[in-house]
Symmetry: D2
Subunit: 412 residues, 4 copies
């Protein structure tokens, strides 16, 4: 259950989050290319709880602040101002998305068992969905991992990859297809699986260019993996429907966090442009630098606006909000990349060295144009939805507008 928050309360939480990030988190950031180690993270999480900024999105009964989704953006942006901020505040992917789904769908018993420890930061989780080609990827319908109904439970077999956070995770929410006898429950099912289950094996690590998700992106194998009936999340056959509950907000919170990081990059560039002189002027007074700075401000402000609009819509109309999240994801993933890229350019040689963290930031956000649905896949979906929406307008009485004006021809 989310709480009522006033604007003033949200502003206060945002300010306190900003201060915590600036004073406690930024001094602890690992060097570019390195990871935050677990002990350090645990210490910072403890301090975040003490500061009252921990798990802003999580339910109050499980130690969070109960902030409703329409207020997440400023707080998540404040967290994302440090690449390790979201992890420290326990609002990082994939745990944050899993918490949201457990809150929405899980039984009270499942919530106590899984959501509680996760929200408190005692354990981590993963969401094994992507599969090696030709399985589930840009086309989720290609899902190949299978859950067979057996007496008293289910048996899962399949191969997943790019499973963020899997190394060291306590449990997984596994997406599998099930060909049930009755058509009602045929489709896909989500199952809660302990990573200690003997049927689960974390395989080879896949080295990617990002560094902010603890637990890597390895292969995960399910081999004759038995789980009991109470492992089903929601109901059998409803996996794809539930996935929508997760995917819209999950891709939007990525936008929020990375926009925070883009703001950091822009601040680095501003500080460099303030300090440096070139051809007798401060860099910040040279038109070509001002052009880059202004374009980044425009990218940041427009991203902020479409994120907030999408968050508000997700709260009031999840289906339309999920559709709009495709727009927000595609736009913001490219905008934050541009902002960081321009900051590198403004910082010259230092921008591509690890004297500044900008090159690592670029590597951090580059994958976001691919994961959570590649931008090309989203564009395809955006176009199809728009075509369908126009068809509905026409069905409701709007005239087609492509008629060539006969009035435009004169007899020659």
């Amino acid at each position: 259950m989310t709480e009522q928050f006033s604007s003033a309360q949200v502003e206060d939480l945002t300010s306190r989050t900003e201060a915590f990030i600036r004073e406690e988190v930024m001094p602890s950031e690992p060097r570019p290319g390195e990871y935050l180690d677990s002990a350090h993270r645990a210490d910072l999480m403890r301090r975040a709880k003490h500061a009252g900024v921990f798990a802003p999105h999580a339910p109050k009964q499980y130690g969070g602040l109960g902030l409703p989704i329409e207020h997440w953006s400023p707080v998540f942006q404040a967290a994302g101002y440090s690449p390790i901020g979201p992890s420290v505040l326990n609002c990082m992917a994939p745990d944050e998305g899993n918490m949201r789904m457990l809150e929405a769908i899980a039984t009270p018993a499942q919530q106590d068992r899984y959501l509680g420890p996760l929200a408190r930061g005692d354990v981590r989780s993963c969401f094994p969905m992507t599969e090696p080609h030709p399985g589930a990827g840009s086309d989720p319908a290609a899902l190949q991992t299978e859950a067979r109904k057996v007496d008293g439970g289910w048996v899962i077999d399949g191969h997943k990859r790019f499973i963020s956070g899997a190394i060291g995770a306590s449990f997984a929410i596994v997406m599998a297809r099930n060909d049930a006898a009755d058509s009602v429950t045929a489709g896909s099912t989500m199952l809660l699986v302990e990573m200690s289950n003997p049927g689960v094996r974390v395989g080879e690590q896949i080295h990617t260019i990002d560094r902010t998700i603890e637990g890597g992106h390895p292969h995960v194998y399910f081999d004759d993996c038995f789980v009991s009936d109470d492992a089903v999340l929601g109901g059998p056959g409803l996996g794809f429907r539930y996935a929508q509950v997760r995917l819209g907000p999950a891709r939007l919170t990525h936008c929020m966090r990375w926009l925070g990081l883009a703001r950091r990059a822009l601040d680095i560039a501003l500080d460099r442009a303030s300090a440096r002189e070139l051809f007798g002027s401060r860099l910040q007074d040279l038109g070509i630098a001002q052009n880059l700075l202004a374009e980044s401000v425009i990218d940041v402000e427009t991203s902020d606006a479409i994120i907030q609009r999408t968050a508000t819509l997700l709260a009031s109309n999840p289906k339309e909000g999920t559709a709009l999240s495709s727009v927000a994801k595609t736009y913001c993933s490219e905008a934050v990349f541009r902002v960081i890229d321009r900051a590198i350019q403004l910082c010259g040689g230092d921008g591509v060295s690890d004297g500044l963290p900008l090159a690592q930031y670029l590597n951090e956000v580059r994958p976001f144009r691919i994961y959570d649905g590649s931008n090309e896949t989203h564009k395809w979906a955006i176009a199809r939805r728009k075509v369908a929406a126009r068809d509905r307008q026409v069905a409701a009485g709007a005239s087609r507008l492509d008629r060539i004006g006969e009035q435009s021809y004169d007899r020659s």
Copy 2:
């Protein structure tokens, strides 16, 4: 005085405006390259009043609907779906911006004399600000038109150009510099001038590529033009301050109207993509077309979001709203241009002929990247404001972030 409007009321007004545009206005649109004639406009205005959709932004006591600025966007977009819609609904530049300024600054007597007839659509107005080089243009401080204080009034001398709507206008709000004896009132002053004043001459017309503003964009000359003391709008020396009252909202309403036109262009493209087949597929099913459509949807939705955010901010914090309007103007003027440009591409040869109105639409919005402050000037302002904002953060305690990490060097 603006009224309180509920979401439902705004939605209802938007729907009714959409219907009026679709049913009454679109059938009356002039052919590409031509103008709406005055008689036709007057008839349509009468019908708009009857339909209860006339002058949504204007005060109720003067015949408008009293809609507050934070609700203008959906209604103005609905109006802008037809290039003549804003003119018919009396919410077109420059009158709409002049109404706003008169509402905010004018004395009751001035309101009765100027705002009333203007809001009711009985007369038109203009806002002579731009001057020939090297006068006021991208740099307003270069203002050269002069207002001299004389006994009982002021005498204006100067040359203005690109004065939209001047031909046939009833009155002008003239911006002039005044070098008053006392420093308090030195600066610039706005003056209400009847166009029938013998000191005013409307000069050569400047042919531009747009067609939606009645009254052209001619030169206007002020030659020993006397106005009495009650012609001062607001107070002497406050012209630039008052101009801000006008400029932020005025450039934002351009965004709203042109975004409506961009939606129209996108619908034309969608209808074409639905009707045409190429290489055995419907155009709307070809990936390269889908890519263009999706990019236009993204442009439309992000424009919508930044416009709404700016409008809301203008209502609560005019100074910050005006600053953000630079971002909205720069972004939207380019986004709507792209949307129409893509629609042309999707319509092929018909897109560049006047069988479809798209080429004219492109000519309609191209100037918006220049007027109301060229995008380059806005970018310069955006960069400077951001630099100043960062300096304030640092003054308030934030650390400069451009220090090169010493930790990044190893002894070789």
Copy 3:
């Protein structure tokens, strides 16, 4: 037969063409939005002949200069520096492309009858290929106009549109499909048709936004149109093959001419940036203006380079040159649009008025992103050709490079 030209000769011809355009043609340019009238054109053509710069590409025996295609670019660019230059020098579409095809394919008798008068500028021609949907357009294979073999000749029936130059043309090269009995000659055929043939009717004019092609872009109807056997250009069934002879060079010469116009626009912008002051600096010294100027220089130089490379390749390897002309067309049509668009921006309000010709230039080049194959269709072809080329490399022994490196995985 083309001649041998030394570099010095080409430079000399280019210089003389530049001088002729500057001194004789530019003072005669029509106002923006208007057309060059025929009498004026005839007079300028006479002067061009006198100056030795007329029809640089046409065969010497028919009054041209016999310049081979690899040397056309600088000369055509010099011509295109004025929007009416190519027409005056008789190297404008569609005549220039028709001359090339007649030179390559026509019989001596056909050349004397058609090429001679055309090259000398005594008559004009057209190339009716495009048809109303769902006929030949972006997909030439959809050709619907039919040529039936009859005793002693052929009978043509069909409807063409966007037939540039048709009004007032003397003859047409018509593309029609023919379903001959023998498979050798089935396919499409090109036929030389006098526009005075009673079976030809020039229909409604289509008003487009460009102004440089004399004779409009009307519909043309063929109704039971008989032509004798000697009207076949080349051979029956070879129409598509011959069309390639025309299309590659024809789209490249558009690139050359429009690049000349883009250079003109850039010069206008440079002159404006030299003359104007803003915020106390000359516009040309402000970084944001310099950025726009530099981007236009880059567009111009890269366009020049890809045009020259394609022209050279067309001379030595027409098949590969035609393939590369898709790249040149797509790139240059967008680059010249950008250059003119930036020039408008640099010229402010004058840029969108007809005080300067820039807005008309933009309308002049906008259709080039559509005609001669829309850029989207070319991109589709470019991608398919590249895929096929890569397949050939692999067939010849190259290894596929998409294997995921096994070495990249560590055991977790």
Copy 4:
């Protein structure tokens, strides 16, 4: 002395280089993020000599192939198809640029001592020019390292950074300013300095994101570093003039090598698009993928064309060639970045992992938008040169074109 090469000879060398890279070099490439070790490099260099493809640009008398610069592009692109190819063929920066400068300027004795071992690959070199802020960087005139004339030689003092290849280099060509008594030799001077000189110290390494240059990019300190008179390269005071000899070709060879790598990335993407299916189609048949592929082909072909044009111009007119190299550098550095970025997008998750080398390639080329003059600095120079060129045209008689057409005004 360069040799005469026929087209056939260049094609043959290109083919043999391609084969050598494919068969000998590609199997030896280090994993993404790692370096080629020296022993491995030495072995591959030996094999390259055996294959007759070693040091194509270097003089024959020193073991190279003597290829003139106008023929370098296809060969250097073939080398660059592997990130370690240029290093193996001894045509990598900074050695390749130093070889060119030594060939052009050094005395025979200096050539024997420095150029010979360098061209044969026996030693490496560096070119210490960049200094910490506020020294020489984007503004070379800010040079602070000083060379004082003393009896029998010079004493160098200064601090350089980002000195590519310095670790393990045998000698350096140092740029220093000298304030000689006579004005003729005042200015900057290039000096040949052994890295074993006790006055030279290689300082802290700067970790950058690229991996292809052996010897890192460390700081280098000159402290009371004495060199004898014969260490002067060319003549005192001519350093900046000589730097131009190096910089134009050096930045162009970067374009060539990185364009080779971009071709590799495009081939990887093509192979992936051939192998993968999505939504029931091969990726290469989906329009959105085709759009990405086509845009990359356009980037590759236009880059190739501007590189070749610049190389040809550098051979015939070094001053104009150097000016055009600013255009080539700015365009190509951005084009190759886009090509690799699109390839990543087409390869999805594998594109941002080190299962494929693409993410490393992106890190490899990102710095090229900064080094050899940042693109922003080049744009500034391009704009200034164009303004100056236009001024010269006007001085030679061309009319300014920004006059507002009086004919465009009608009396209203």
